[in-house]
Symmetry: C2
Subunit: 200 residues, 2 copies
């Protein structure tokens, strides 16, 4: 990686971080490229050197949100332990990702209708990966006699929805810490798939 | 109710129905009052006689979505039966409401940031009613020895999220019927609160 590439990567991160916050607070349509440049204290040419369309920022925010979910799942599945261990670990990691990137998660779910067909394909592919791999983990747990589920796909959507939904209600000054919420979601997830609650 | 009031009510229903669909497909900001009038095949003065601001349509869509959730809960709590019966009935009714009014649910959750402070108070009041009354039902089930929950508020948010999330993934041409989804959500809801699965 050249120094100029490295600078570009750092700039990209900063742009996405600020744009996420602005899109979250003012909506995607309500945020201009001028506003993004202003929040970053850079001129528009500097911003356009990295993103020449506002839409590409939204696409990258969405891809990052999806990739975080998939990373949470893949890391959990690599853990040496029972399927119950892995599913509990996934629920905690996924909860943590939604909470730490609340603005990004909200923007992805709210503004998806603006994503153009050429990017929809990649987004749908990643969604498919997430759903399939979560279903695989549940099926592996059923095969191991750890889980009891009648309909794996809907159980996977129920878990994904229950945890994704945290972006709607989480408040940093709320009653529960992110860790406590992660533990509760892990318990609910294990209950949902019929694992003996609280056991490992 | 006078005939003119009655006509106004019917018109309101029609406007909300069409606006829900347009806001769902094009976003709230992307939909003009002209577009709403056009979809209804009426002139703008006819539309403005019922709603003089686009914002008031969004507020009414949001209030209706919230009231449907609360109705599902209150009707279920009136059922003569155990808390398990009532919670199962709520999950089915709520699922049905989200599916039958998918566009309205989506618009409410996506566009909430446009709702002005004067309406936020009523919306927050209704949200509070829903959360409190669902928590009460869970607590009543715990008191009756039917449910085992460590943290009632988060269990209530988890159930609300899991079912609300259906607006994201439900497709009318999908694998499962609305009734089948309702039954599955009822099972997941009862499992989540630690009720003996499948029992009544």
């Amino acid at each position: 990686m050249t120094i100029s590439d490295e600078i570009k990567t750092v700039r990209k991160e900063l742009i996405l971080e600020h744009a996420e916050r602005l899109f979250y607070e003012r909506g995607y349509r309500g945020t201009s490229m001028d506003a993004v440049a202003e929040a970053l204290s850079v001129t528009k040419p500097v911003l356009y050197a990295v993103y020449d369309r506002k839409l590409d920022i939204l696409i990258d925010i969405s891809l990052r949100a999806l990739n975080r979910s998939i990373d949470a799942l893949r890391l959990a599945r690599r853990i040496d332990g029972t399927r119950t261990h892995q599913l509990r670990d996934f629920a905690r990691r996924f909860t943590d990702a939604v909470i730490r990137h609340q603005a990004g998660s909200a923007v992805f779910f709210r503004e998806e209708s603006f994503i153009p067909p050429e990017a929809t394909r990649e987004i749908n592919h990643l969604k498919g990966c997430f759903d399939t791999e979560l279903a695989e983990l549940i099926e592996a747990g059923m095969a191991a006699g750890e889980f009891r589920v009648d309909d794996v796909r809907s159980a996977s959507l129920a878990i994904g929805g229950m945890i994704s939904w945290i972006y709607i209600w989480y408040r940093p000054d709320g009653r529960l810490s992110p860790e406590a919420i992660g533990d509760l979601m892990a318990t609910y997830t294990l209950r949902l798939v019929g694992a003996p609650a609280g056991s490992s």
